[in-house]
């Protein structure tokens, strides 16, 4: 596996990225290119059917694909990296090796279903549950929404509650490996602003069958640990978006003459480019370091959380800078910066939003778990004057 060849494998995907965004559909040829490149196997050990690339090389492979087309990247990496790692990490390889091989070969596409219609990060509101069916087997019921690969996926790793009658370990939660091509599963697409070619939508489970060995009980604390794989891939997506934005800025600043000199001769423009260069380098180096640790078997969860919060917000800032440097051209549909501008925000929100990540990071610094209490802390302090007078009613 020569990582340096990946960019070459993805040139066709890059050439189709704009059209894919316009139509909101991933060209079938993209998936074939991803499969042929060997990308789907780089994240996994040989024993699991992978090619066991080191963490630094994994990041290079990811960035190659994300630079070519963020939508294709999200769809493919969600399947092989996040779903693949969850199946490998929490399942039983002796049992689930065929399931994993279907993802790594590209024969099937995986989705990771966590969020429900009524909530984002607050798992307390999740209702999807695995319980006993009428025939004594296990079934899953509920609805997951805003899920990558939901409309087109074949297999979902679903975070679900365990009905107390089937919760042998008392964890209360499980990962359920659910076949999406069966009666009792309904899928639907959802509109989204960016990453438009990425399949995204919801799935309803109405007593859909799940084999007992495909129910993996997990303590809820493990959820964030597993999600860290997702934070990593979303971070690399963001680094690629920021790098692509910087690339377009540099090209524009070199060629566009303004006030009698190329834009790039202006100190203010140089400042924006220099700052971006440093921030992207810093984010990429952190991504490489945490991926290296992760591939070597260490958690690095908190550092990945830091990376995710930083890199995703950087991508948004980078595309805003790109609009500033390009001017109004960049806001026209079809302009590459306009696409990047729309693609960036999903990364901030997907797989734990920044606010939630910062709470986890602080917890790792010794502040203890997040404490949520209803707002009452101005009461009795003498500082709540506005709350007690008409002028303070907002």
């Amino acid at each position: 596996m020569n990582i340096s060849e990946f960019p070459q494998h993805f040139t066709g995907i890059a050439a189709r990225a704009s059209e894919a965004d316009r139509t909101g559909q991933l060209p079938p040829r993209n998936w074939q290119d991803v499969v042929d490149s060997g990308y789907l196997r780089v994240f996994h050990p040989v024993a699991a059917g992978g090619t066991a690339a080191d963490g630094v090389s994994q990041v290079a492979a990811m960035e190659s694909l994300a630079l070519a087309c963020p939508s294709t990247y999200w769809s493919a990496t969600m399947s092989t990296l996040l779903c693949g790692k969850l199946i490998h990490g929490y399942g039983d390889l002796a049992v689930h090796r065929p399931l994993l091989e279907e993802l790594l070969s590209g024969w099937k596409l995986g989705a990771f279903a966590v969020v429900e219609r009524t909530a984002g990060s607050d798992a307390g509101t999740y209702r999807t549950v695995v319980s006993k069916g009428r025939d004594g087997g296990l079934v899953i019921s509920g609805e997951k929404a805003r899920i990558t690969n939901a409309p087109t996926g074949d297999l979902a790793v679903v975070l679900a509650r365990l009905d107390e009658r089937v919760d042998r370990d008392g964890h209360g939660w499980c990962f359920a490996f659910v076949d999406l091509n069966q009666p009792g599963v309904e899928r639907y697409p959802m509109e989204h602003m960016g990453l438009r070619a990425m399949p995204w939508g919801g799935m309803r489970f109405d007593r859909a069958h799940v084999a007992p060995h495909d129910i993996v009980p997990v303590p809820y604390a493990e959820f964030a640990e597993g999600m860290a794989w997702g934070w990593l891939f979303i971070s690399v997506s963001s680094i690629a978006i920021a790098e692509a934005a910087l690339h377009t800025c540099v090209a524009h600043a070199r060629s566009h003459v303004s006030f009698g000199r190329p834009l790039g001769h202006m100190e203010g423009v140089q400042a924006q480019l220099a700052r971006l260069r440093g921030k992207i380098d810093a984010a990429r180096l952190l991504a490489q370091r945490v991926a290296w640790h992760r591939a070597a078997g260490h958690s690095a969860r908190d550092e990945i959380a830091m990376l995710k919060a930083y890199a995703t917000e950087l991508a948004v800032a980078a595309t805003q800078s790109a609009v500033q440097i390009h001017g109004a051209w960049a806001l026209q549909p079809g302009h590459p910066v306009e696409r990047l501008y729309r693609d960036a925000p999903m990364n901030v929100i997907g797989g734990f939003a920044s606010n939630r990540l910062r709470e986890l990071i602080a917890e790792g610094m010794g502040t203890g778990p997040a404490v949520y209490r209803p707002f009452d802390w101005l009461s009795g302090t003498g500082l709540d004057e506005d709350l007690r007078t008409p002028t303070g009613t907002g």
Partner: protein
């Protein structure tokens, strides 16, 4: 849009990064040793030395215990420790963390990692053989103006007139000289060349004590040259070789010091969040406070990667791209100021008490950000290669 450049992936850099990450455990051990030494031997009187602007020669000599002598980077054949830049950066990181004293670290950088490094790289063999063991042992101390790391970006304040038979006559002044009070020799860069100037050279006056209102635990001063005649043996080498080396070392090693300084701030801030109460709850229960702490730690981790990469590049043969070293300096200085400001926000008014570590850190971070050229020097250094700009490429309109 054409596909973003493939070299943006820095694919050629991957093998060296793997080597770097494999060495992290050993680097952490060095960092911990330096931290333990500094916490025990240096930190107890940092606040007092800072308040009094007191220089402690014994403390400076003791830095050799952990390898931070003038010979840190010098080979054993010249009396040095033969450390790599990565190892040296790890020591500076640990030292600054444990000591909360960036001043003595700056003195060590100026002496060993700027002056001794330039002598080692540029001086004739006879001078190297004579001088380097003395610099390594601390028998001789070197000083230098931090402005000499900026090359021609700032106006020249001194001139060097060549004289027949070699050598030069120096006239003018050098400001912002580190180790001014203690140095036996000064490295000075004036127009075409770098020179080694003995403190006792006729025509040189060292004005001690003139320096910034920051980093008071090293000694500052100015050099005044009045018909200061140097012999041919004082010429170290061409400025075009000295300045890039000085700039690279100043950027990377001073940034390494601020890794340690930020670690200390982050640790103390997190501890405070667990102790202090606000609105009848621990400060650390506030989501806003938690976000501030998380961002402080994140900035630190981002800087670690940049410093390590740049230090690893210093250890490789060949020229280190200025873009990389300038990036480290710009990013770390911005992060250091932000982290110090966040710490100040958490500590509240007490952080502004005279001698408070957070107040000192804010003051010194501001100096760190301004020295080394600040953003107005570093940004074009980073952006110019990005834009493939050079002095020879001008737009026709600009020429008219």
């Amino acid at each position: 849009m054409d596909h973003a450049p493939l070299d943006a992936l820095s694919l050629t850099e991957l093998p060296s990064l793997t080597e770097l990450f494999e060495s992290l455990h050993a680097l952490e051990r060095l960092r911990s040793e330096a931290h333990a030494y500094a916490a025990l031997k240096v930190a107890p009187n940092t606040a007092e030395r800072d308040r009094a602007g007191h220089w402690d020669p014994q403390l400076f000599a003791g830095l050799a215990t952990i390898g931070l002598s003038g010979g840190a980077l010098l080979p054993p054949s010249h009396g040095g420790h033969g450390l790599t830049a990565l190892q040296t950066a790890a020591l500076l990181d640990g030292y600054a963390d444990g000591s909360q004293d960036p001043g003595t670290a700056l003195a060590a950088i100026a002496h060993g990692l700027l002056c001794a490094a330039v002598v080692h790289r540029l001086a004739p063999e006879t001078l190297r053989r004579r001088l380097l063991p003395a610099l390594a042992s601390g028998e001789q101390i070197c000083g230098i103006s931090l402005l000499d790391t900026l090359g021609g970006a700032v106006p020249t304040t001194a001139t060097a007139t060549p004289v027949d038979g070699g050598g030069a006559v120096l006239t003018g002044a050098k400001r912002l000289v580190v180790n001014a009070e203690i140095a036996h020799q000064f490295v000075v860069v004036i127009t075409e060349h770098a020179y080694l100037v003995d403190r006792d050279t006729p025509g040189l006056t060292v004005v001690e004590g003139l320096g910034p209102a920051a980093v008071p635990t090293c000694t500052w001063g100015e050099l005044a040259f009045e018909e200061c005649r140097l012999g041919p043996g004082a010429v170290l080498g061409p400025a075009v070789q000295a300045v890039p080396l000085l700039a690279a070392h100043e950027r990377v090693f001073s940034s390494a010091v601020w890794l340690g300084a930020m670690r200390s701030l982050v640790r103390h801030s997190a501890a405070l969040a667990g102790q202090r109460r606000l609105f009848d709850a621990p400060l650390g229960h506030s989501q806003a406070v938690r976000a501030r702490l998380a961002d402080m730690r994140t900035r630190l981790e981002l800087c670690v990667g940049l410093v390590h990469r740049a230090a690893a590049l210093l250890d490789r043969p060949g020229t280190v791209p200025s873009q990389h070293t300038a990036t480290v300096r710009l990013f770390t200085a911005t992060a250091a100021q932000a982290v110090a400001e966040s710490a100040a926000a958490l500590f509240g008014p007490e952080a502004l008490a005279d001698g408070h570590p957070v107040h000192r850190a804010q003051r010194d971070a501001a100096f760190f950000a301004a020295a080394g050229g600040g953003p107005d020097v570093l940004q074009p250094v980073i952006a110019a290669p990005l834009l493939a700009l050079s002095g020879a490429v001008r737009s026709p309109k600009a020429d008219r």
